[in-house]
């Protein structure tokens, strides 16, 4: 079923195409409006990295404010003008920085930058397809994303500054332009940008799902797919089901802002005068927002999990432990992630009984997460671990996922959340479990598949430096924040100078800021490595990591269609590493079982009685041969 659509015409078309190039690729069609999934992946990656750097700079700006609330930095006024009068950030602009940092990181970097890059790159390559199901829609997906990025950044140029109600944009704050400067034009741009972004993400996700379901090569049944593909597939399903709900929420917010409706507004007095809104509920927006918002954090983390699983298996030279459990836990997370959104709302005034129910579902979702963690540890156990940069980042991802995941047990507990909600404990939690973990997953992917993308290798030593500085930096930044949260220090505070009890955290804040600056500087190592290696890096070999998956059978040089001639057939699962009896410590998916008689196990023939018979015959002849000897 999987091969029907691809093989018939496209394969044939390609063969003739390859001999003499029919349509010449112009610069425009190759680099700008490309419909080749590999180029689109690179476009997503470069845009994602650019957005990440911008969001990181924003975070450094507000970290400086938190570390030195009373100090003026004349340079800031030079660079930011009216947003930093006298060299000190303005309180509204501080909130705008926090808001846009969060928005860019969650949506533009960790959703589009991560899924967009690696789903596009790997789904066709690891499944054996010539391209996505709909290359044109894929191109549109990127350009909607690009437009959304431009609109989002353009909000820095409007008079009153960008949206500043927090990345969750709760109304009424975001709905009333008079409530704060950022709720004016900046918020309008934010909403436009998000609608474009969601359109992009839906087009991408529909493509990913249809490609995975319809365009797998011969022999690639679902249970032979690498975990990366499983993760991207389930992520795409999550996105398709959850993002439209955010559109609904956003559209109603636009109505409230611009057309005088009262979906989210009721009984409001602003500037001393009663507003004409009646009958709406701010809680409704929170329900709609978090119905996307919670699946969103899994949209962010699941691709990172998939990438880390793959990278760790390759570099441990061991099959991923409990492949089926890994897939089922991903499915479990996918399903459960739709019924846990209320844990963001325990103290919003939502009916407390609902809070109790959401607490139960939330703590259930910890079980598949725990299973994944243990399986990763078991994958490392008795491996033969190659420390590539990608491997280090995958390990970092696991470490962050454990550290940040454990604090989720506190926050998922409604009773404990009463005192922890919206404090720095939450900031520490999600920055570790979804921020740092997901970005490490993404970086692992970049280091691992860089040869596939650019045909060259990245510098490993610089990668090591980048890893250790970032890894240590992230822990130094986020670990102390837990204790601030336990002291009741709220997030999104412009300064902690107004509270006697919070002043003692100033030294910790200064420390965190310097750790953040160090980690930010370490990213220069990455950027230099990335750009340098893109043009002058060492040329890669066909299969630099000695991996099993299909993408490493595709030629190094890129062309639209991925494989010359016929697409390779798949005979086995992707994790036959260090199989006893095999010559090498890896057996690519394209090697038939008939060529590896010495390493086959009865397990390989679970649904293949004929094969099992042949295998039994072969082993018995081997045995008798030995006896003869």
């Amino acid at each position: 079923m999987s091969t029907l659509s691809v093989h018939g015409h496209e394969g044939a078309h390609h063969e003739e195409d390859h001999g003499h190039h029919h349509h010449k690729e112009t610069f425009l069609s190759k680099y700008i409006f490309s419909m080749d999934h590999k180029m689109i992946a690179k476009q997503f990656l470069v845009t994602g990295i650019t957005m990440a750097v911008i969001a990181m700079i924003l975070s450094i700006l507000f970290r400086i404010q938190l570390a030195y609330p009373d100090k003026a930095f004349p340079l800031m006024e030079t660079l930011l003008g009216r947003f930093a009068p006298g060299g000190r950030l303005n309180a509204d602009f501080y909130l705008a920085l926090v808001t846009i940092h969060g928005t860019i990181m969650v949506f533009f970097v960790l959703t589009a930058g991560l899924s967009g890059t690696f789903s596009n790159l790997l789904i066709p390559l690891q499944l054996g397809a010539r391209d996505m199901a709909s290359p044109f829609m894929n191109m549109l997906s990127y350009w909607f994303f690009f437009t959304a990025s431009v609109v989002m950044l353009s909000s820095f140029l409007v008079q009153k500054g960008p949206a500043s109600g927090g990345w969750t944009i709760y109304p009424p704050l975001s709905a009333l332009p008079k409530a704060m400067p950022g709720s004016g034009m900046g918020m309008t741009l934010w909403l436009i940008s998000m609608v474009l972004f969601i359109a992009s993400s839906l087009m991408g996700a529909i493509n990913y799902v249809s490609t995975v379901l319809n365009m797998r090569t011969k022999g690639m049944d679902l249970w032979k797919m690498p975990l990366t593909i499983w993760a991207f597939f389930l992520t795409a399903i999550l996105g398709i089901l959850a993002f439209p709900v955010l559109v609904a929420g956003v559209v109603l917010l636009i109505f409230d802002r611009s057309f005088g409706t009262s979906f989210y507004l009721s009984e409001i007095v602003l500037g001393g005068s009663a507003q004409p809104f009646e009958g709406g509920s701010p809680i409704l927006f929170q329900h709609l927002f978090w119905f996307l918002g919670h699946p969103e954090v899994y949209i962010v983390i699941m691709p990172a999990m998939g990438i880390s699983s793959e990278v760790m298996s390759v570099n441990s030279r061991k099959p991923i432990f409990g492949y089926h459990a890994m897939v089922y836990s991903l499915i479990g997370i996918t399903v459960l992630s739709f019924i846990v959104w209320g844990h963001h709302m325990f103290v919003t005034g939502m009916n407390p009984f609902l809070g109790g129910v959401f607490m139960i579902t939330t703590l259930i979702i910890a079980v598949p997460s725990a299973v994944k963690t243990f399986n990763w540890l078991a994958t490392l156990w008795r491996g033969n671990i190659r420390f590539t940069s990608a491997m280090l980042f995958a390990i970092g991802m696991v470490s962050f996922f454990i550290s940040g995941g454990l604090t989720g047990i506190f926050l998922g507990n409604a009773a404990l959340d009463i005192n922890l909600h919206d404090t720095y404990f939450v900031v520490a939690h999600f920055h570790l479990v979804m921020g740092s973990a997901a970005i490490f997953g993404m970086l692992a992917g970049v280091y691992h598949w860089f040869p596939k993308m650019y045909g060259r290798m990245m510098n490993e030593k610089l990668g090591y430096l980048h890893f250790w500085l970032t890894f240590i930096g992230a822990y130094l930044v986020f670990f102390p924040m837990h204790f601030m949260g336990l002291d009741g220090v709220p997030r999104r505070y412009y300064a902690f100078t107004e509270f006697e009890s919070m002043k003692r955290w100033l030294s910790v804040n200064t420390f965190i800021t310097w750790a953040a600056i160090m980690a930010a500087c370490a990213q220069v190592a990455f950027l230099v490595n990335f750009i340098y290696s893109m043009f002058w890096g060492k040329k890669t070999v066909q299969n630099p990591w000695e991996a099993n998956t299909l993408e490493w059978t595709a030629p190094i040089e890129h062309f639209h269609g991925n494989w010359h001639g016929e697409i390779p057939t798949v005979y086995r699962w992707p994790y036959d590493y260090s199989k006893p009896g095999a010559e090498e410590d890896f057996i690519p998916q394209t090697v038939p079982l008939s060529q590896t008689m010495s390493s086959n196990l009865p397990h390989d023939f679970e649904d293949n009685p004929a094969g099992l018979e042949a295998h039994a015959k072969w082993t018995s002849t081997q045995k008798s041969n030995e006896e003869v000897k």
């Binding site: 507004l265 007095v269 703590l363 204790f483």
Partner: protein, 387 residues
Amino acid sequence: MLSVLAAFLLLGTNMLMAQDATKDTAATASSGDATPSVWLAPGYYILLFVIVCFVVGIVGKILRVYDLTQQIQNKKPINWHNVMGICCIIFLIVGMYGAYWSFAVQGAMILPESASAHGVKIDEMFWTTTVLTVIVFVITQILLFGFLFRYRYSEKRRGHFLPHNNTIEKVWTIAPAIVLTILVIFGFFTWQQITNTIDAKGEQASINVDITGHQFAWELRYPGTDGRLGETNYKLVSGSNKVGVDFKDKFSYDDLQADTMYLPVHKSIKLNIHAQDVIHSVYMPHFRVQLNAVPGLPTYFKFTPTITTAEMRRKVGDPKFEYIVYCNKICGAAHYNMQRVVRVVEESEYQAWLAQQKPYLTDQIKKDLKFAEVKPVAKQNRLALNN
């Protein structure tokens, strides 16, 4: 190459000296010509960063040269797998010590014991969860980095082919499930107890206190002698009637306004939470109390303070310690400074304080509403008499 490095270091030190010197001049110089001083400090840091980059580059080259010479001499080049394995084990040890230090030093700075009855249960749960998670944290991180060191790459070895093991997988699915179930059950009942708080029959009625958030302050309203708060209506909010008390409701006549939230110790308090403009959040961390203030959705939180301010001052050893209520939901520019002092006092002190508070029904409002002079005056007298 080393001389280049030395030159850069020297330059850096020179710059540092120069920086120190210019700092003084910058401080004394007025705002006249600001351009050089604007760029000087950042320029120094940028230069420092560039130097660090050079050093990194040079170290990289040195390593490469070393590697190449080793290869020429047919010796083994640096085994980076070993280096990284050792880095992992160092990170584990130093990191564990760092975590311990953080727990010891910063952990000592967290909130003092709960000053409310329900908070004690929350704290118990918190410490149980902390112990469990710290154990899991330590074990898993040790395993993670320990495995990395122990099973680092060696040409002589092969990985152990272990695709799955159903028994152990079942164990580590069921074990966390059981632990989490226990936590869920306790959490669920604690949560129910905290939030299902309608005054039970026979129980003494809670003291109603209204707290209303607006940009950027909290307004407090206490019931007068009748023990009941009057109705409010957002349409009545004005400069003189800050929370929109509806004076058609006679219970409102003796409602009192206050600047500080005084609470009698060991008395059940029902905090009625309102917001006027945007969402705020009433956060009183010492009492483990938090609930959002949502416009159009009045909510309440019932709790019983158990430790007076004076007692808590002794406990934390800070004579200036105050309980505070502050805003914990982003609400605009001055979100970071929206606080009221909370004082938990003995009943007698509470009554004495209450007697001194001014009623919401001010002379100005009386004039605005054309109230007959008689009624409020009588009320005032009654209040005075009762005390």
